[in-house]
């Protein structure tokens, strides 16, 4: 198999916008997304000998970027940009507890206002107001819950990767996913019922 041709600087920088679009919703910071794109392209220059041309260049670059994002999230966990206000893993601070009464029954119909979800998700995601609502509700999630949710539902990470990237124990991943899903559901329910 012939070796792939080394891309020119211009060809590499052409991928910068696509990489930026990939990074931004995952790290939620323009500055961090730009840094990650820069680091990705620099790594690509240094390690181009490892690119075998089996996948498209963009796909290879996205793979590098994905790992950079996971490293970035791990770093954030160890050096948070803002102090945590509560222990998100603690049973005492379970934010879903208030959704149920003393016998564990729903206080409020959990599916009310969510009939819109019957529509194909790709079609829904095409609508700016739906995207904005989902993004707003994701942004309201506590940091660890948001990370775990995005790592699972968007990045399709396995449990071990989630543990490593979000610095959580294996045993807490299921609990954190449950909480993030319920908080997201409740937030969207409030948004759409009040609309």
């Amino acid at each position: 198999m012939t070796e792939p041709l080394k891309p020119t600087l211009d060809e590499l920088v052409e991928h910068a916008d696509a990489l930026y679009r990939y990074a931004l919703p995952r790290v939620r910071s323009h500055h961090a997304a730009e840094d990650l794109v820069q680091e990705t392209l620099i790594t690509a220059v240094k390690k181009f000998s490892e690119f075998q041309g089996r996948a498209a260049l963009g796909t290879w670059l996205t793979g590098i970027l994905r790992n950079k994002i996971l490293d970035h999230l791990r770093h954030l966990q160890r050096h948070p940009e803002s102090p945590a206000t509560a222990d998100e893993n603690s049973a005492e601070t379970d934010p879903t507890a208030e959704m149920f009464d003393a016998n564990g029954a729903w206080k409020f119909e959990p599916s009310a206002g969510l009939d819109i979800l019957e529509t194909d998700p790709a079609q829904l995601a095409d609508r700016a107001e739906i995207r904005a609502a989902v993004q707003q509700c994701l942004d309201k999630l506590p940091l660890t819950l948001r990370k775990v949710f995005v790592l699972r539902e968007v990045e399709d990470c396995e449990t071990d990767e989630i543990c490593s990237a979000a610095a959580v124990t294996r045993g807490s991943v299921a609990v954190l996913l449950h909480r993030s899903r319920q908080l997201l559901r409740a937030c969207l329910q409030r948004t759409w019922l009040n609309a």
Binding site: L9, L12, V13, A16, D17, Y20, R21, Y22, L24, P25, R26, E34, V37, Q38, L41, I42, V45, K46, T96, M99, F100, D101, N103, G104, A105, W106, E109, P110, S111, L114, L117, E118, P121, A122, L124, A125, D126, I130, R131, V134, Q135, L138, F149, V150, R152, E153, V154, T159, V173, A174, V175, L177, H178, R181, Q182, L184, R185, L188
Partner: protein
């Protein structure tokens, strides 16, 4: 109304057996990611038989996951989102520096 009546009557028993709506919701979330144990499956199916509110809610949860995933992936496809010329310039400059340092 029916749900509230049922919850009031059966609630304490469900709580004792670990098959409340709250328990079911957690199991339904776990089930999205991994198989349930035998005892978890029994509790899950028993409550599911009795509670159509939880059955509906579980379906919504799956739909919601797909929507959130589609939304974030869509954000990645939005051609309006791009680096400005200054940022692209910074990136080019940094790569050139790396190439220069690498060749020394």
């Amino acid at each position: 109304m029916v749900y509230r009546l049922f919850a009031a009557v059966a609630g304490p028993l469900e709580k004792m057996l670990g098959i409340t709506c709250r328990d079911y919701t957690q199991l339904a979330s776990v089930k999205l990611d991994q198989p349930l144990s035998a005892s978890e499956r029994r509790r899950y199916f028993f409550h599911r038989l009795m509670c159509d509110i939880c059955r509906r809610q579980e379906k919504r949860l799956r739909q919601l996951n797909r929507l959130a995933s589609a939304t974030l992936k869509q954000a990645g496809d939005d051609a309006m989102v791009k680096l400005d010329d200054e940022a692209r310039g910074r990136i080019r400059h940094r790569i050139l520096e790396e190439l220069k340092n690498g060749s020394q």
